[in-house]
Structure formats: structure tokens, C-alpha cells
């Protein structure tokens, strides 16, 4: 049937010659366009960037984590090197000006004498002994990661001088170098532990969420029981069970496993509830109907939907693990010398009467608090960003 005008003649086919603009209903600004076309991860990044505190926390953490691969280069001494002339030496203050003139970063030398009344060493700053720091220098030898010989340091004390930025401990070991080396273990304990906990959490949460039914309620009960247990006493008991004969590396691995073993229930619960919600989605049903195996559906179709959530909640559980390791080592149940972690260093501060006289033994407290705080802020930021469409 053709359209006819009033007179009955067929109307000519009409075509508007102007170019068609598909967005004429609503024109998008360049920003909006970029937003709608961006991938999920990109939007998350934009959202995360707006959380200033979280970004700065990330930067601070990155700086701390630089100590992990490059501890040997950053630390002026090695972690277990004893300086027998400087037992319990106080921190040397970093200075720039000597008698009003600029000399660059330097420290004053120390003169030591023994106080016969209290029987302890007394250190005094020698204001005439200027010891300028050397940068990019050859210092004490080390084996980089225990493999490659080297002696290059970012900063060294002056020839014949000392550089104890945070003082020394009972055996004359430099506390600052200890902190730098300790970061290697303390900061990675959380990462490995969280990896273990993610694997367990995904496995159990996946089982419970995808299959439901009896498996679900069994795992749910298990999660409830584990969550109702106080973590620390269990950590203590488990790490006390590690054989004393193990080498530090094995003890370290054992502790990470212990920390991860008890942490997964929270993650599993999150995975389960996400899976329960997502498996009802059309695309998941479609995949199942097309004959995909459960593991494939979970991995290919469901997992991408909540990876961001897992990362965010994992970030939030790292500080608990760092603290767990610190507490265990502090109590002599975790790592021991020659392994160095922040908890091992704090072990020196167990006796309060010693700490009162030599307060710099408490120094490891500061990086611990900074790192834990930073992880908390970062985790908060990530959690907010994990749901970018909200």
C-alpha cells in the first residue's frame, strides 16, 4: 500500500538531505563520552584517584616496598653486623650545618666512656669530629639476595666513622639497617599470607556459593566456627608447633601459611555472597545452558564480576597479617635471628626497663604503624572504587 496525497496521486519518497546525527537526542560532552567508553578498570582508577588519602597511602607503601628488593643497597650496614665499640649507641642526628657553614649531610662522631656507677656506656657527641656522609659508595660487602657479591651502597658513613641513624641495640647492631632488612620479611609476610588466604577463600567460597545446598551449609558452619575463634592464641599455638630445627626460610614460610590459614573465612564469605548473587544473572545461566563446566563458569563469567572486591578486601587483611607476624616474633614464637623482621627487632624491646634507658629500641613501632595505617587507607579507597558504577 502506498501513501497518497489528497488528490490521490502517490507521494514521492522523501529523504532528508541533512546528515543524520545518531546522538541528536542527547549530545554527550567529551568527558561523558570518555566515561561511557572507558573500561571498568579505567573507571575504577578514576574513582580511586579522587580518594587523595588512599593515593598517597599507595605512594608511601610503594616507597616502603622499595626496601624489599633493594635492602642491601639502602641499608648502610648489614642487619646482623655487630659494632662492638657501640653497644646501645644512641641515634646520631643528621645535620647540614657545622658551626654556621654548610657542609652537606653529616653526623658528628661519638666519643664513648664507661659510667662505672651504672656500668653502662655513655656516648657523647664530639662537636669537632665532622663525618660527612658518602653517597653511592663502596661499603661493607654483602651478597645481594644471598646470590651476587656486592659492596655498593646508596649511603655510607665517612671513612672510619659511624652512621647509626636510629642507634644500635644490645650487640651494637644498627637499628636503621635492621628496619630496612626487616621490611623484606615483614612486608612480604602479608602478601604471601593473603595469596594463600585468597586461594582458600576462592575455593571454599566458590564451592559454597556455586553449589549451595548441603555443601554450602557445611562450609557456612565451618566459617562461623573459625570466625568465632580468637585468632592470636591459635596463631601462637600453631607457630609454637613449628619445629625448632627448621631453617629461618622454612619458619618464615610456615608462618605465612599459618597466617593465611586462619584468614580465609572472611574472604570466603564475601566470595560466597557475590557468587550467590551473580550466578542468577542471565549470562551465567546462558553459559551453564551452553554446557560450560562449573569451573569455567566461575572463572570466565563470574570471577571478573567481583575481582575488584576481592582485591579490596585482601588489601584490608594484609595489615592484620603484618601485625600477626610482628606479634609472634615479638613473643619469640615466630622468626628468630639471623632472620630479621620488625617483630624480631621489637623483641629487643621486651624488657621495659631496658626500653626506658634506650628508647630507640622502640623504633620499629613507627614503620609498623605507618604501614598498617597506609594499608587501611588504601584498602578503604580500593573498596570505594571497587563499585565504580554506584
Amino acid at each position: 500500500m502506498s501513501v497518497k496525497d489528497e488528490a490521490g496521486a502517490p507521494v514521492e519518497h522523501y529523504v532528508n538531505p541533512e546528515p543524520f546525527d545518531p546522538a541528536q537526542a542527547e549530545t554527550l560532552t567529551a568527558e561523558q563520552e570518555a566515561y561511557y567508553q572507558a573500561s571498568q578498570w579505567k573507571i575504577m582508577w578514576w574513582k580511586f584517584r579522587r580518594h587523595k588519602v588512599a593515593v598517597w597511602s599507595g605512594v608511601i607503601l610503594l616507597l616502603f616496598y622499595l626496601c624489599v628488593p633493594f635492602a642491601e643497597l639502602i641499608a648502610p650496614y648489614s642487619a646482623n653486623e655487630r659494632s662492638n665499640d657501640h653497644l646501645y649507641a644512641p641515634p646520631q642526628q643528621l645535620r647540614l650545618f657545622h658551626e654556621g657553614s654548610f657542609v652537606g649531610p653529616f653526623v658528628y662522631g661519638m666519643t664513648s666512656s664507661i659510667d662505672l656507677e651504672t656500668v653502662k656506656w655513655v656516648f657523647e657527641e664530639d662537636r669537632t669530629d665532622v663525618q660527612p656522609l658518602r653517597f653511592f659508595c663502596k661499603g661493607p660487602d654483602y651478597r645481594f639476595w644471598g646470590l651476587v657479591e656486592g659492596s655498593f651502597h646508596l649511603v655510607c658513613p665517612a671513612e672510619g666513622g659511624t652512621l647509626f641513624l636510629l642507634g644500635t641495640d644490645r650487640l651494637g647492631r644498627d637499628v636503621f639497617s635492621g628496619l630496612v632488612y626487616g621490611a623484606r620479611l615483614s612486608l612480604t609476610v602479608g602478601l604471601i599470607g593473603v595469596t594463600i588466604s585468597i586461594v582458600l577463600g576462592l575455593f571454599f567460597g566458590g564451592l559454597a556459593g556455586f553449589f549451595g545446598g548441603v555443601i554450602d551449609s557445611l562450609i557456612q558452619r565451618l566459617i562461623e566456627i573459625l570466625r568465632s575463634l580468637p585468632e592470636l592464641p591459635l596463631w601462637m599455638a600453631l607457630s609454637a608447633a613449628l619445629p625448632v630445627t627448621w631453617s629461618p626460610v622454612w619458619i618464615y614460610l610456615g608462618i605465612t601459611v599459618i597466617l593465611g590459614l586462619l584468614d580465609w573465612p572472611g574472604l570466603a564469605r564475601a566470595v560466597r555472597s557475590k557468587l550467590l548473587a551473580l550466578r542468577e544473572e542471565e549470562y551465567a545461566k546462558a553459559a551453564t545452558l551452553m554446557g560450560a563446566r562449573p569451573s569455567r563458569v566461575i572463572r570466565k563469567h563470574l570471577l571478573p564480576g567481583f575481582t575488584s572486591h576481592i582485591i579490596a578486601s585482601a588489601t584490608l587483611s594484609i595489615p592484620a597479617m603484618i601485625l600477626g607476624e610482628t606479634a609472634l616474633s615479638y613473643l619469640n614464637l615466630g622468626l628468630r635471628r639471623p632472620a630479621v623482621s620488625w617483630g624480631v627487632l621489637l623483641n629487643e624491646a621486651q624488657d621495659i626497663s631496658v626500653v626506658v634507658v634506650y628508647p630507640w629500641l622502640m623504633a620499629p613501632v613507627i614503620p609498623i604503624i605507618i604501614v598498617v595505617l597506609a594499608f587501611n587507607f588504601l584498602g578503604d579507597g580500593l573498596r570505594d572504587a571497587a563499585d565504580p558504577y554506584k
Binding site: 566456627i225 568465632s228 580468637p230 592470636l232 592464641p233 609454637a240 608447633a241 595489615p319 613501632v365 587501611n376
Partner: protein, 341 residues
């Protein structure tokens, strides 16, 4: 209500069984047991005279039985060398290190542990409640920012480090020893008013140290919950009708925000108890914490096992109380019986 309490208590029984089994596995994890290690040490030293006595002790404590049997004997569900004589019959086991029954070793520390934990929970409630309400009703005020900041620091500072710092500062500024749970002169004396006061005074620091992180978390939660409620329409309606602000707050939004507040403390209790163990070690409080550390280090298995179990039961009871409180507050839980967890 009675039915709810009953059901809630009954569901604790399987949980307790699983926990006792886990505990037993954990304390049996180290190779050998206290006595067989001693035997090995004696044999290595060439002394075989006292080995016979130790062998007798091993049989006496059923350490030579298979694993499952040992567990059941420990719990008291299986006849041991002396018939049914386990936890269920009130025998808490034998401490090899102290050569005393476990009950005698930790008996005096149990009330202290309970008092300390209750004081902490009370502290968390009492402090976080008003601050949470203040922060929510005066959002973005200086007070709110201040509390949020302090809260973040409190959340990030691990309690045993906080304990260490407090110890140091108290020693430095006041020359005061804040360790222990009473003045030395009262130790071993019978309970009196003075002793009570001394204990109370010494409770303050550990309570703050253990409770700070929990308080910070609770303030954040209460603030968030209350803020959610305050933006609801019924609040606007009530305000439009001219209801006074204080009455409005107490009557509706607070009641709604109270539920998660009580429920959350159930989640907090495990970490509070955890904290009390390590803070007790740091501050040298006469609770089960230091005893547990010793027992674990010397592989005094029955002592360690009992303490682990005790601590777990303490958290379970804490959670039970928080659940019951919740049921009192919220008829939906009491009557619906849905939230049985």
C-alpha cells in the same frame, strides 16, 4: 524468648565439639609429647633410671594411646586409665611443667581474665556509643573530624604496641609501673575493698589498650549506621511535624542503628579476646595470656589445650550474650527464628 535462648544454646554444642577437636589437633601438632621428649633427653644424657617413671607417667596420662582415643579421653567421652575422667567430668588435665593439675595452675587467673574481658567490652560500649552518636549528629564538625582521626590511629595501632608505648610513657613521665593487675602488697591477700580498688585502678590501662581498636571500629560503624538512618524520610517527616531533635533521635533512628551496633560487638569479641592475651603478656597481667605463652613454649600440652579451649569458650559466651541482647532488642529475631547464626 525462652525457646530462642534454648535453641541458641543448643546450637553451641556442636560448635564446642568442633572447637575442642581443633584445639586438640593443634596442641598435638608438635612432634612427640612433653614426656616422650623428656625421655629422649634423658636417654641422650645416658640416664635410664628415671625413664621407667616417665614411661609410667605416659601410660598414666594415656599419651601412648592412638590419637582419636586420646582426644576422647581428654574430653571425657572415653574411659581412660582412671575411667571417665576428662573435661566433661571437671578434670582439666595435668600440667607437666608445673607438676600440678591444670586447675591449680590457672585457677587464680581465670576470674582475672573474665573481669578484664568484661571490662573491655563494657569500655567499648560505653565509649563508642556517645561518640558514635555525636559524630553522626554533628557530621563534619571539628569534633567529628577529631574523633575520626583518633579512631583511624587507634585502629591502626596494634594493641600490644600501644601497650608497650603506654608502659614506656608511664614509666618515663610518672615513674610508674603499670604492669600487673594490683599493687604488689595485695598479692596473695584475701579480697577486700582496698584490693578491689587497686585492681580497678590497674584495670584502666589494659582496658584502654585492648579496647581502643575495637572502640574505633564501633564508632565508625555506629556513625555510618546512624547517618544512614538520619537521611531517611521518616526523620524528615518527624522533624517537619515539629518533634524535638533529642526525642526524635532517641525514638526512631537510634533504635534502628542500635541493632547492628549490638550485632557487631559479637564480631568484635574474638579480636578483643585475642588482644587481651597478648596485651596481658606485654603488661604482665595475671591472666591466662602469659601462662599460655609459657605452656606453648614448653609444650605443656594439656595446659595449653585447656587455655585455648577456655579462650574460645569465652568468645562463644560473649557472642551468645550479644545474640541474646539482640533478641531482647529486636522482636523480629526473637520471633522469626531466622537469624540463628
Amino acid at each position: 524468648m525462652l525457646y530462642y535462648i534454648l535453641r541458641r544454646v543448643v546450637t553451641m554444642i556442636p560448635t564446642l565439639l568442633v572447637i575442642s577437636f581443633l584445639t586438640f589437633i593443634i596442641i598435638e601438632l608438635p612432634a612427640g609429647d612433653y614426656i616422650s621428649n623428656q625421655i629422649a633427653a634423658l636417654k641422650a644424657a645416658g640416664e635410664s633410671s628415671s625413664v621407667a617413671k616417665l614411661e609410667f607417667l605416659r601410660a598414666e596420662f594415656a599419651l601412648d594411646r592412638p590419637f582419636l582415643e586420646r582426644y576422647l579421653i581428654w574430653v571425657g567421652l572415653w574411659p581412660g586409665p582412671h575411667g571417665f575422667d576428662g573435661l566433661l567430668q571437671g578434670n582439666w588435665g595435668w600440667s607437666f611443667e608445673y607438676e600440678k593439675p591444670v586447675a591449680d595452675v590457672i585457677g587464680p587467673t581465670l576470674p582475672m581474665t573474665i573481669i578484664l574481658n568484661m571490662a573491655t567490652i563494657l569500655f567499648v560500649y560505653v565509649v563508642s556509643f556517645p561518640i558514635g552518636i555525636y559524630s553522626a549528629t554533628r557530621q563534619y564538625s571539628w569534633g567529628d573530624y577529631g574523633f575520626t582521626f583518633v579512631g583511624y590511629i587507634g585502629l591502626a595501632t596494634p594493641n600490644f604496641l600501644l601497650g608497650l608505648i603506654m608502659l614506656y610513657l608511664a614509666n618515663r613521665w610518672f615513674g610508674l609501673s603499670i604492669g600487673g593487675l594490683m599493687d604488689p602488697e595485695y598479692i596473695g591477700r584475701p579480697m577486700s575493698v582496698d584490693k578491689m580498688l587497686s585492681i580497678l585502678a590497674h584495670l584502666i590501662v589494659p582496658t584502654i589498650v585492648i579496647g581502643t581498636a575495637g572502640t574505633a571500629a564501633m564508632i565508625r560503624r555506629l556513625r555510618a549506621n546512624l547517618l544512614d538512618e538520619l537521611h531517611r524520610q521518616y526523620v524528615t517527616t518527624a522533624r517537619a511535624k515539629g518533634m524535638r531533635e533529642a526525642r526524635l533521635l532517641v525514638k526512631y533512628p537510634l533504635r534502628m542503628a542500635l541493632n547492628p551496633f549490638i550485632a557487631d560487638i559479637g564480631n568484635l569479641i574474638p579480636s578483643l579476646v585475642s588482644g587481651s592475651v597478648i596485651v596481658s603478656v606485654v603488661l604482665n597481667l595475671p591472666t591466662v595470656g602469659p601462662v599460655l605463652l609459657n605452656a606453648l613454649q614448653s609444650q605443656d600440652q594439656f595446659l595449653a589445650g585447656f587455655i585455648l579451649l577456655f579462650v574460645a569458650i569465652l568468645t562463644l559466651i560473649g557472642m551468645l550474650v550479644s545474640d541474646l541482647l539482640l533478641a531482647v532488642l529486636d522482636p523480629r529475631i526473637r520471633l522469626g527464628g531466622r537469624a540463628a547464626s
